[in-house]
């Protein structure tokens, strides 16, 4: 297995894929952490903003809408990540792995 790992490690496509994956993962994590900490800090520091009514004809508050919004955002971003990873990332990954495996079996290649 080690020579395969080394072969893949030398493949620039592997590092490009790892970079794309980590960019997406970190970007989405950042978005989620910002959303949750905005919610938590608003409760701690500025509860009066969450206590406001959404509009004059309702008892629904900004806080209720924000809570539902944060849950909805989490589900949506989780779905987005899976969609990207299970489609383009897995396809690229399969190409990289199968190329490395084929090269390793063919003594004339590489």
């Amino acid at each position: 297995m080690r020579h395969l790992y080394e072969r893949i490690d030398r493949d620039p496509r592997f590092h490009a894929l790892a970079r794309r994956r980590s960019l997406l993962g970190w970007g989405l994590s950042g978005a989620v952490l910002v959303a949750y900490y905005a919610f938590i800090l608003a409760i701690a520091f500025a509860p009066q903003h969450l206590a406001r009514q959404l509009h004059d004809d309702t008892v629904l508050t900004v806080g209720i809408a924000a809570g539902l919004g944060v849950i909805a955002l989490s589900i949506a971003l989780t779905g987005l990540y899976v969609w990207r990873a299970n489609r383009s990332f897995d396809r690229l990954n399969a190409e990289i792995v199968s190329d490395a495996t084929r090269d390793a079996e063919d003594p004339h290649a590489a």
Binding site: M1, R2, L4, Y5, E6, I8, D9, F14, L17, A18, R21, L24, G25, W26, L28, S29, V32, L33, A35, Y36, Y37, F39, I40, L41, I43, A44, F45, P47, L50, A51, T58, V59, L60, T61, G63, I64, G67, L68, V70, I71, A72, S74, I75, L77, T78, G79, Y81, V82, A85, N86, D90, N93, I96, V97, S98, T101
Partner: protein
């Protein structure tokens, strides 16, 4: 354990289960009203089905891989449901409804914030965990680290996590069941203990998975029924429901606004750290990632789990306020002093009765019982794997134990943990266990999250760094909890706490991360140098899944 013996034991357990349920049934028929009969009858059906599944699963549980990971053959969708079953304890249904019933909006904080653990788990941990893992989270870390010190740390922290969580579940279960079914507290403990031992010791991860899966379906449908019934009373006008809640609640408009549950910013931030990062690294949940064949199915599991759990949390927005409207002023649910019967924890159960009469009450009661059983089963198998795989097979036997020996130890560990749960459940009866809910989440955010995260992402991490940071972090968390407001002041009766914050996770996680990083950077040992050099191979495997356990061979 040979097959005939196993069958005989299973038959005995089945009969005991039937006997206990029938006994309770007869008792209920004589001494209690018809409501309990329906609840016990429905729970009885759940018990019979789950024991049948355990019988079937026992025949398929031979190797350690069967026992810990169901042979890695669970699909992403099934695993997503099972994870939902693992995650949603009775606290999620009854505790959140109770908090909304008493404090209004503040209860919703516990629906919203814990959910943040799910996207983080997906973006930062899921792929790499599945590609690197085998049976337990210690396997991932010990890929390039020294086996004995790493497993000692993670298994010890894991057992502290499991025992703390177990006590909370068992005490909650005893109280709930004596309220719902009219059973004695101690009898309820023994029934849960026996069921757990049978599920886990005989059926291993296969039986545990199906118990959790069935429980998740029951919980989601029960919560959906209640929500639809509540909204139907207002012609499906959400605003109509909330207007009625504002009119009914003693705090009026404030029921829709943040109150004083998170009084100061440091506690709020620390509580957030605990729920987000601690929730993302709980060993009994992460262990479920190894039951699917590959990283793609692991991602699907998380996506399904996040969808179901998020949906469930949204329903609590309606169930909690529904209880304010339909339970708070109804004399049927109040005692002579006008206080809710059985305490605020019964708000969701009373609401079920208000919405669907005896049938829905019986169903939701049975769901609550099944919920506890499934969560305790998940904790027990996580604890049993820490004992048999990490401590016994890898430390005591230096990885030389046979598969059959390890499976046998796993079964005994499950029996031991089930018995321990019953003993602790009885010992902690009617005690203030609020601090025990904070303990497992704090351990998770202080030990499991930093260790896993750095092991998978940071090249320079070494065994010395993990051991120093893990143990110092764990010790600091326990000390801060003991001298904090909950234990030092409220339980021990001292005038003022030595540490001012209820939630130490922000501080203990920082201590843990900082110590791991500093000690690793100072580590000049030969072992440390090799561990850093091994990062490349681990990185390629974590990204590609090449060489992962249970993956298709290329």
């Amino acid at each position: 354990m040979n097959r005939p013996l196993l069958k005989a034991l299973l038959t005995a357990a089945l009969l005991i289960g039937m006997g206990a349920s029938l006994g309770a049934f007869a008792d209920a028929a004589g001494a209690l009203d018809g409501v309990n009969k329906k609840a016990i009858g429905m729970f009885f059906v759940f018990v019979v089905i789950s024991l049948g599944i355990t019988w079937w699963a026992a025949g398929r549980t031979k190797s350690t891989s069967d026992f810990y990971t169901a042979g890695g053959q669970i699909s992403g969708f099934q695993n997503g449901l099972a994870i939902t079953g693992d995650w949603c304890s009775s606290a999620a249904l009854m505790g959140i409804a109770a908090l909304i019933y008493t404090t209004g909006f503040d209860g919703l904080i516990y629906s919203v914030v814990p959910f943040g653990a799910w996207p983080l788990m997906m973006f930062l941990l899921a792929d790499r965990l599945r590609n690197l893992g085998k049976f337990t989270i210690a396997d991932i870390v010990s890929l390039r680290m020294a086996r004995v010190p790493i497993r000692s740390l993670i298994a010890s922290a894991g057992l502290a996590f499991v025992v703390g969580y177990l006590i909370v579940q068992m005490v909650g279960a005893g109280t709930l069941i004596s309220n719902l079914f009219g059973l004695q507290y101690e009898i309820a403990q023994v029934i849960i203990g026996v069921l757990i031992i049978v599920y886990v010791a005989f059926g291993g991860m296969i039986a545990t998975t199906y118990v959790q899966l069935i429980k998740a379906v029951l919980l989601l449908s029960g919560a959906t029924f209640i929500t639809v019934a509540v909204l139907a009373k207002f012609g499906f006008s959400i605003d109509g429901l909330y207007q009625a809640a504002v009119a009914n609640h003693p705090t009026k408009e404030a029921v829709m606004q943040p109150g004083g549950l998170l009084p100061d910013p440091i506690n709020a931030i620390s509580c957030g750290v605990m729920l987000l990062f601690g929730g993302a690294a709980m060993p009994h949940v992460l262990m479920r990632f190894f039951t699917v064949p590959d990283a793609k199915e692991a991602r699907r599991s998380v996506a399904w789990a996040a969808t179901f759990i998020g949906y469930f949390y949204v329903l609590t927005f309606f169930i909690g306020y529904g209880a304010v409207v339909f339970v708070m002023k109804d004399p049927h649910f109040l005692d002579a002093n006008g206080v809710i019967r059985g305490g605020a924890n019964m708000a969701a159960i009373h609401l079920a009765e208000a919405m669907g009469g005896d049938i829905l009450l019986g169903f939701i009661s049975a769901v609550a019982f099944a919920t506890i059983v499934a969560v305790v089963a998940g904790l027990t198998i996580a604890g049993a794997s820490a004992i048999s795989h990490d401590l016994y097979a890898n430390i005591l036997r230096h990885g030389k134990a046979s598969d059959a020996e390890v499976v046998k130890v796993s079964r005994y560990a499950a029996i031991g943990l089930g018995a321990l749960g019953v003993i602790l459940g009885i010992a902690f009866k009617e005690q203030n266990i609020a601090y025990l809910i904070v303990l497992p989440f704090t351990i998770s955010s202080t030990v499991f999250f930093p260790v896993l995260f750095l092991a998978m992402y940071w090249r320079r991490l070494t065994t010395s760094g993990i051991v120093a940071g893990g143990w110092i972090g764990l010790a600091s968390a326990v000390v801060m909890l003991v001298v904090g407001p909950t234990i030092w002041k409220d339980i021990l009766g001292n005038p003022a706490p030595l540490f001012p914050y209820k939630y130490p996770a922000l501080f203990s996680m920082t201590i843990s991360f900082a110590t791991m990083i500093v000690v690793s950077l100072l580590d000049r040992s030969e072992r440390g140098r090799k561990e850093v050099a091994a990062f490349e191979d681990q990185f390629v495997r974590s990204q590609t899944g090449l060489g992962a356990e249970g993956a298709t061979q290329h």
